[in-house]
Every structure is written in C-alpha cells, then in structure tokens.
C-alpha cells in the first residue's frame, strides 16, 4: 500500500469532477431540490382530505357530532344532503362522508350504541384512514356527553373494499412506472452508445432520415417494452394479486403508451447528455421529482396548492391516475376522466416523438 499512489487516484478523481460542472451541480444541487420538494410536500400546509357530513338527525346529538367534525383540523368536513354527498363521492370531490341517521340520538340514548354510516371513496387508503380516524375522534366528544357508549360505525366502500391495502393502491401506479423508467433509462443509454461508438455519425452520413432513425428505435424498444409490460402486469395480477376490477386490455394499452413515451423521452433527453454517466443523471432530475409529484405516493388532492398545479401538468400524473381509474374504479373508455388521462398520455407521446425527431440533428456539428 503506497499512500502516494492512493493519493494520485483520489486527486485525479477530484480533478475530473472539477471539469464536470454538471455532475458537481447535480451532486450538490439535486439533494437540496429533492429534499426541499419533499419537505414542502409534507409540511407545506397541504389540503386535508375533504369529507361530507349528512345529518338526518333532528335531535341534539347529530348536530353536536356534525359541528365537532366541521371544526376538525384533520379533515375538511362540510354539511351536505345525502344526494349531494353521493355525487361528490363519485366524482372524487370528497374522499368520504358520514351519515348520521334520523334515529341517531335515539339509538345513543336507548341502546348506548353510536352507529353512523361511513361511506368511503376507497381508492386512496391514506385518505380513507384519515376520515375514519376523524369520525371516531368526533365521537369522543359525544362519549363525554352520553357516557359509556359503544362506537360501531358501518363502513362501506365505493371502490376497493376493506381488504384494499397500500400495495393495491401503489401497485396500480407502479405497473406503469416500472416500465416507464426502465425503458427510459435503457433507451437513453442505448442511444448514447450509438453516439459514443461513432455509429450514429455513420447513420447520419447515410440516406437515413431522422424520422426513420427515431421510428426504428421506437419500434425496437417498444417490442421490448411491451413484453416487459406484459410480464409486469401478469406478475402484479397473478402473483401479487394487486386489486383490479378493470379491463386488462385497457391497462396494457395505457402501459404501452407510457412505454412509447419513455422510448422517445429517452431519445430526446440523450441529446442533452454526452456520456452514459450523464444520461443516468437524468434519473434524479427527471424521475425522482415526478415520483414525488405524480400522486404515486402522496395524493395530489392533499398537496400544497402550488405543487398541485405542478402535478397537474406532469404527464405522469395522468398516467398514474388512468391506471388507478381502470384498476381500482373499473373505468372504461366511456368515463370522461379516463378519456382525459389517456388523451394526455397520448398527447405526451406525440410531443416527445416530435421533440426527439427534431432534436436529432442531421448535422452533428
């Protein structure tokens, strides 16, 4: 072990980094961006889950519970009619509502049983949990008044169900994401290799048109991506038993669109990297922020306002939403929300195809 030789290596590495400003910027900038984003996301005063309170009880206890809920800080509860609540539940405007029946006070006084109906939208386990918690907390106040009552809510789910768990929620999103990110990285690296080994220059000096190169790449990688999509889908549904009430062909269609978008995003972004190393750097820049903001882990409806706006322009948001619409809610092409999701993903596909083809300059100089 010769310390001078070790030092030579260390020094050379640091010298190299000094030249590679981009890597340095990434090394010291990306963690701040990602952590900052995460901090803002979790502490930025995002919206709490929205819920409805339907009070059919004219006696005192119903309105006591309702007002306790409405003043709760963990949910944004508001009174509404049952019909209203049902519509809002279906449109996703509220994550659930609690129904206090007309005999609510009577039940408490005679049977010492608190039995509200809790209706949950159910597609987002985190939100459902918040609502059930807030509802049960609001009855603590009631228990103080009536004393010794039994809390027995009847919970029903619009989507999913009591066995619907976090994997079911994440699984729907990840089926698309795994394919999207892997295909993106592989295409970007393959295209950079084409540059690095000089074969791209050769192709550029041939009668090939830009569009032909892009299309050829797209088809080649799409074949791989489709096989991968099918594999991921089969594994998720058959082995992991991820909750799915939708049409498998629709899931595959959306996955395929994401794969095509990923191929072209890879081609497009590889134009902005000189080495494979730099291509891999797109992961923290392009992929991690999307993971945080596309509603994969944190529901968009509970993000701080400005981030919600940002999430709404990320194409991945719509892809994730689309997959959940299909798998959790059983959406088909007649649903306007799914039409929007597929439309946005399709539009994004076209955009990156065009971007890839135009950026691939005939003149490399």
């Amino acid at each position: 072990m010769n310390p001078r030789r070790v030092q030579a290596i260390t020094q050379r590495l640091l010298h190299q980094f000094r030249r590679d400003r981009r890597t340095l910027a990434l090394l010291f900038g990306a963690p701040l961006v990602i952590l900052g984003l995460l901090g803002y996301l979790l502490r930025g005063g995002g919206d709490v889950p929205k819920m409805g309170v339907v009070n059919l009880d004219s006696a005192g206890l119903g309105s006591l519970v309702a007002s306790t809920l409405e003043s709760s800080k963990t949910v944004a509860a508001s009174s509404m009619s049952q019909a209203d609540a049902e519509t809002k539940l279906r449109s996703g405007d509220i994550a659930g509502y609690v129904l206090l029946p007309s005999d609510f006070t009577a039940q408490v006084q005679q049977h010492r049983i608190v039995a509200p109906d809790v209706h949950l939208e159910g597609s987002q386990p985190g939100l459902s949990q918040s609502i059930v918690q807030s509802v049960s907390q609001s009855f603590v106040a009631l228990a103080g008044q009536a004393g010794g009552v039994q809390f027995a809510p009847r919970i029903s789910f619009l989507y999913g169900g009591p066995s619907f768990d976090t994997l079911d929620y994440f699984g729907a999103a990840f089926i698309g994401l795994v394919v999207f990110f892997l295909v993106f990285v592989i295409t970007a690296v393959a295209f950079l290799r084409e540059r690095g080994q000089g074969t791209l220059e050769r192709l550029m000096a041939s009668p090939l048109r830009r569009a032909e190169i892009v299309l050829g790449y797209m088809l080649g990688f799409t074949v791989l991506a489709l096989v991968q999509s099918a594999e991921v889908l089969a594994f998720s549904l058959l082995v992991l038993h991820v909750h799915n009430v939708g049409n498998v062909a629709l899931i595959f269609l959306l996955e395929a669109l994401m794969a095509i978008a990923a191929v072209n995003l890879g081609i497009f972004l590889s134009m902005f990297a000189r080495t494979e190393f730099q291509a891999v750097q797109f992961i923290p820049l392009v992929i991690v922020p999307q993971m945080l903001l596309a509603g994969i882990i944190f529901p968009i409806s509970t993000e701080p306002g400005p981030l919600q706006a940002l999430s709404r322009v990320l194409p991945l948001t719509y892809a994730v939403e689309g997959l959940r619409n299909i798998m959790i809610k059983g959406a088909d092409l007649s649903w306007s929300s799914l039409q929007l999701d597929i439309g946005v993903v399709l539009g994004f596909c076209v955009l990156v195809i065009l971007a890839g083809a135009t950026t691939l300059r005939r003149r490399v100089a």
Binding site: Q197, G198, T199, E201, R202, L203, M204, A205, S206, P207, L208, R209, R362, R363, V364, A365
Partner: protein
C-alpha cells in the same frame, strides 16, 4: 447520377468551431475514378473537410458539391461510402451482422459477402466485433463503407493502427476499386501512403497549401522526398 467530371467539387469552404477556424477557404476538385489523398498533420482540418462532404458539417461559407449535387442532399448519400476515423461498429454484433445492417440501410444486402471478402473477413464473419483485433475492426468498418458499392468512398485515416502488411493489402484494394471507377478521397498523415494517391492535397491550418501529383508537389518544393516537400511547403505558408 449525372456524369459529372468531378466527383467532389469544394469551393471556398469556411468552417469555424468557436475561435478555431477548421476550414479556411478550401477549394478542391476530385475527378471521377481518382484516388485523392488529403495529407496533413493532426488537427489540420482533414476530418472536418471529409465530414463536410457528407453534410455532417455545415460550412459557414462556400459550397460543397458531391457527384454533381449540392450538399447536403439525402439522395447523394446513398452513393457515398464513409469510413470514420474510429471503427464505428456495433461491438455486440458479429462482423457479418454489422455489414448486413449497413447494407440494409442502403438497401444493398446483396453486397455483404463481397464486402467481407474484399477485407478478408469472410472466414471471421461470425465473430462478434468486440472479440476482433484492432486491425480486423478497421477492416470490418471498411466493409461497412463498401457494402453498397459506393461511387465515392471517403476514408478518414483508414490505416491508423493497421500493421504494414495489412496496410499494403488495403491499398491494393483501394487501387483496384479506383480502377473499377470508384472515386476515393482518403486522409492520412503517413507519407508512404500518399505516394499511392493519384493526386494529393496538402492541408494545414484549414488551408489547402498545395495540390497535385506526388511528382508535381516534389517539383514545386524542389526536393526529392515528399516528407521534405510537405515541411517546406508548410513553412512557406502563412500560418
């Protein structure tokens, strides 16, 4: 292709990379069937000139015509074979698969066997490129440039890193192709190769210093050895 007298017609071409003037008003013509050598030291502008012939470099001034067509022109590229300085191949494909791929791009897969035989790689055609020696890769790269039987062959330092024996072999091939009507523009900084060209262009600092047959260039410099002629003519030129 129209029967133009010149396969390559470059007129006052200027190309700037930042502050560096890679081509500084180059004018040269190459006749059909001629072997034209671009001779000059590293960084003289040889590669930039060759790349401008296939439209990979867009000149700031001047015109480039190849096979009678103003460049850049996609159709003309089908008749040009371009061998880059670095052996540009797919390392995970076999020699034959590489040549076949480029053949397919030009719609001439029928030329695969010929091209591989010309460079003596037919026996090694099944070998994956990453397992080939440097010289074999160079030959494979040449085969890729030949597969579509181009009218104009552009070779950017094709014999760098090639042993003397193989170099002689390759030059025999080049001469044979030229005899068959192929125009060849080849860059080099090796003087003994230059002797095998029909005409030479001496290039330095992006300028064409002298042009002519080997004998003409020697006579112009008034020396017997091409190497001396090159040195003398470069010194005489304003940098």
């Amino acid at each position: 292709m129209a029967a133009e007298a010149y396969a390559v017609d470059v007129e006052g071409v200027v190309k700037q990379f930042g502050k560096q003037r890679a081509l500084d008003g180059v004018t040269l013509r190459v006749r059909r069937g001629e072997v034209y050598g671009l001779l000059g030291p590293n960084g003289a502008g040889k590669t930039t000139l060759i790349r401008s012939l296939v439209g990979l470099v867009a000149p700031e001034a001047g015109t480039v015509s190849v096979l009678g067509q103003r460049m850049p022109q996609l159709e003309v590229l089908a008749h040009i074979g371009y061998m880059t300085q670095q052996a540009a191949l797919y390392p995970d494909l076999s020699a034959e698969e590489n040549v076949h791929f480029f053949g397919a791009i030009y719609g001439r897969v029928d030329g695969v066997r010929d091209a591989l035989e010309v460079v003596d790689l037919w026996d090694r055609r099944k070998s994956v490129v990453s397992t080939l020696s440097g010289g074999m890769r160079t030959r494979c790269s040449l085969a890729c440039a030949l597969v579509h039987k181009p009218d104009l062959l552009l070779l950017d330092e094709p014999t760098v890193g090639v042993d003397p024996q193989l170099r002689v072999q390759l030059w025999d091939r080049f001469r044979k192709m030229a005899a068959g009507g192929t125009t060849i523009v080849v860059s080099s900084h090796v003087m003994d190769e230059a002797e095998r060209c029909d005409r030479l262009g001496l290039i330095r600092f992006g300028k064409l210093l002298a042009e002519g047959t080997v004998a003409q260039i020697k006579a112009k410099a008034g020396v017997d050895r091409l190497e001396d002629a090159f040195l003398k003519l470069s010194e005489a030129a304003p940098a």
